[in-house]
């Protein structure tokens, strides 16, 4: 079975929001920095007063790879699958798969929108290519 994230105290609000089909981002009340992944301090100003804000479910492909060799049996059926770093429009970066998109259409800079994939009771953000 593919890994399912186990939320902890740092990340539970993020994963709970995913389960409601919402993307949220941890935001520093002291300096305004938006950071991913969620932590117990702001890495820009060392502030501890952190909050959550809704994030736009859109972004662009910073880089990607088409993985032909699955590292574990759980991903064998999916190979070749696309792994990407997505720059969200709200200024933070996440790793996702690019799904429901022809592989030959994927390029650096391609706009994407976020969808949610359910996996054993937990929803995960995924990226879907947008043809411009």
């Amino acid at each position: 079975m593919k890994p399912v994230p186990t939320p902890n105290a740092d990340t539970k609000p993020f994963w709970d929001a995913c389960n409601e089909d919402r993307l949220i981002v941890q935001t520093c009340n002291s300096c305004g920095h938006k950071q991913f992944y969620p932590r117990a301090l702001c890495v820009k100003c060392e502030g501890r007063d952190l909050d959550w804000q809704d994030a736009a479910p859109t972004g662009t492909v910073h880089t990607f790879t088409i993985a032909h060799r699955a590292p574990t049996p759980a991903f064998k059926e999916d190979a070749p699958y696309v792994l990407a770093l997505i720059d969200l429009d709200d200024g933070f970066r996440m790793m996702m798969n690019i799904v429901n998109t022809p592989h030959d259409a994927i390029a650096i800079g391609m706009p994407v929108r976020i969808t949610f994939e359910e996996r054993d009771g937990q929803k995960l953000p995924q990226a879907e290519g947008l043809t411009s």
């Binding site: 992944y37 880089t63 790879t65 770093l85 996702m96 798969n97």
Partner: protein, 384 residues
């Protein structure tokens, strides 16, 4: 007599498939080879540093090693910086002997990932380098992470797959000159181009193999090097740079901690890239080396690939690089993978590299990278 810490003994095992080996037997064989090289006995050692292993996952590997060989040192610790560990061990050991804490520190690495755990199990185990919540659920692997770095690098610099292939070919030729190397069958540019894609744009021959093997060295105090059989190679400068562990959190996919690590090492040694005679730089993938050569400052951005194609990175070229064949062809057995670079740097400076010898090599640059270009350590080594 030198004023800096000195590497006084080096050793490595055969690398590749080493039937009958265990994680601990590889550690021991490498350690005894390094001690023999230095003309020392285990009883002369008062400090021990080990790394980590996948095939035998002791939480306290360095204690387990000391127990296995019956050593009771004054100082003993594990160090885990991925592929940077070998260089980091030298930096740590140098601090221990220069501070007077220890006289002779034995640094040991080894793993039998190939025969001890199978290639598939090693690859699966290595996915744990990915973030458990934000990377592993997406099917990350180490090749896929480096492939994403490669895709971005090619996009920004206009470098080509031929540039990457040139490194595969030169490393294989170097390994063919080393009696202990894993991959020695010559390859051509066409072989690299035709190899199956592992994770685009990286092909099989852009990736290092998984190997059994071990490597060790002894770092001695400035006044203790004279007690050893061959004297020492001086550790003239060391530096580290750290920006992230997980690629999702890397501040840049073009510049990495190797920039600060190397700047610190060059500064400490009082030399520049132009002074270096031979370089042994971490090369888990072809892209790893290309990016590091530029980020460190041996080449301008986007120019290292052309240099590789022109033969500048091999014997007779401007910067002979990974003269033992690197991880790409000498082999990769975990922390020992990065230690092989240090061992080769020392052999080059001592004039012991046989047909791989770079004539009159006086200054070597050695660099290790752990994780996904995450943890970096640079060393400047010099002949006394």
């Amino acid at each position: 007599m030198t004023r800096k810490a000195a590497i006084t003994g080096v050793g490595n095992t055969k690398v590749g498939e080493v039937p009958g080996s265990t994680c601990m037997s590889l550690h021991t064989e490498a350690a005894l080879a390094a001690l023999d090289d230095a003309g020392l006995k285990l009883a002369d050692i008062d400090g021990v540093i080990c790394a980590y292993a996948l095939s035998e996952t002791y939480p306290m590997l360095s204690s387990a090693f000391c127990e296995y060989v019956g050593a009771e040192p004054n100082f003993n610790a594990g160090l885990h910086g991925g592929g940077a560990t070998g260089a980091m061990m030298v930096m740590q050991a140098a601090a221990l002997v220069e501070s007077g804490t220890c006289r002779h520190v034995l640094c040991v690495t080894g793993d039998n990932r190939l025969t001890g755990m199978t290639r598939d199990k090693a690859v699966a185990s290595l996915t744990e380098f990915g973030h458990p919540q934000f990377e592993q659920p997406y099917g990350i692997s180490i090749p896929a992470a480096y492939a994403m770095v490669a895709q971005r690098y090619l996009h920004e610099t206009g470098a080509t797959l031929e540039h990457l292939a040139a490194l595969s070919v030169s490393h294989r030729a170097h390994a063919a000159m080393h009696p202990d190397a894993h991959m020695t069958k010559p390859i051509t540019m066409e072989d690299v181009a035709d190899a199956r894609v592992i994770s685009s744009p990286l092909r099989l021959l852009d990736c290092c193999p998984i190997s059994d093997g071990g490597a060790a060295l002894v770092v001695s105090a400035p006044d203790a090097a004279a007690d050893t059989r061959k004297g020492g190679v001086s550790v003239l400068g060391c530096g580290q740079g750290h920006t992230h562990e997980h690629i999702v959190a890397a501040p840049s996919l073009i510049d990495f901690g190797c920039k600060t690590a190397s700047a610190r090492a060059f500064g400490a040694a009082g030399v520049t890239t132009d002074d270096i005679d031979v370089a042994e730089i971490y090369d888990s993938f072809t892209i790893t080396l290309l990016i590091e050569l530029e980020s460190i400052g041996f080449y301008q951005k986007g120019e290292a690939g052309e240099a590789a194609l022109k033969g500048e990175l091999t014997h007779g070229g401007r910067l002979p690089c990974n003269t033992h064949g690197g991880l790409l062809s000498f082999g990769h057995s975990g922390a020992a993978g990065g230690m092989f670079h240090v061992v080769e740097g020392v052999r080059q400076l001592r004039g012991e590299a046989d047909q791989r010898q770079v004539p009159d090599a006086e200054l070597a640059f050695v660099h290790g990278d752990g994780g996904i270009l995450s943890a970096h350590c640079s060393l400047i080594l010099g002949r006394d």
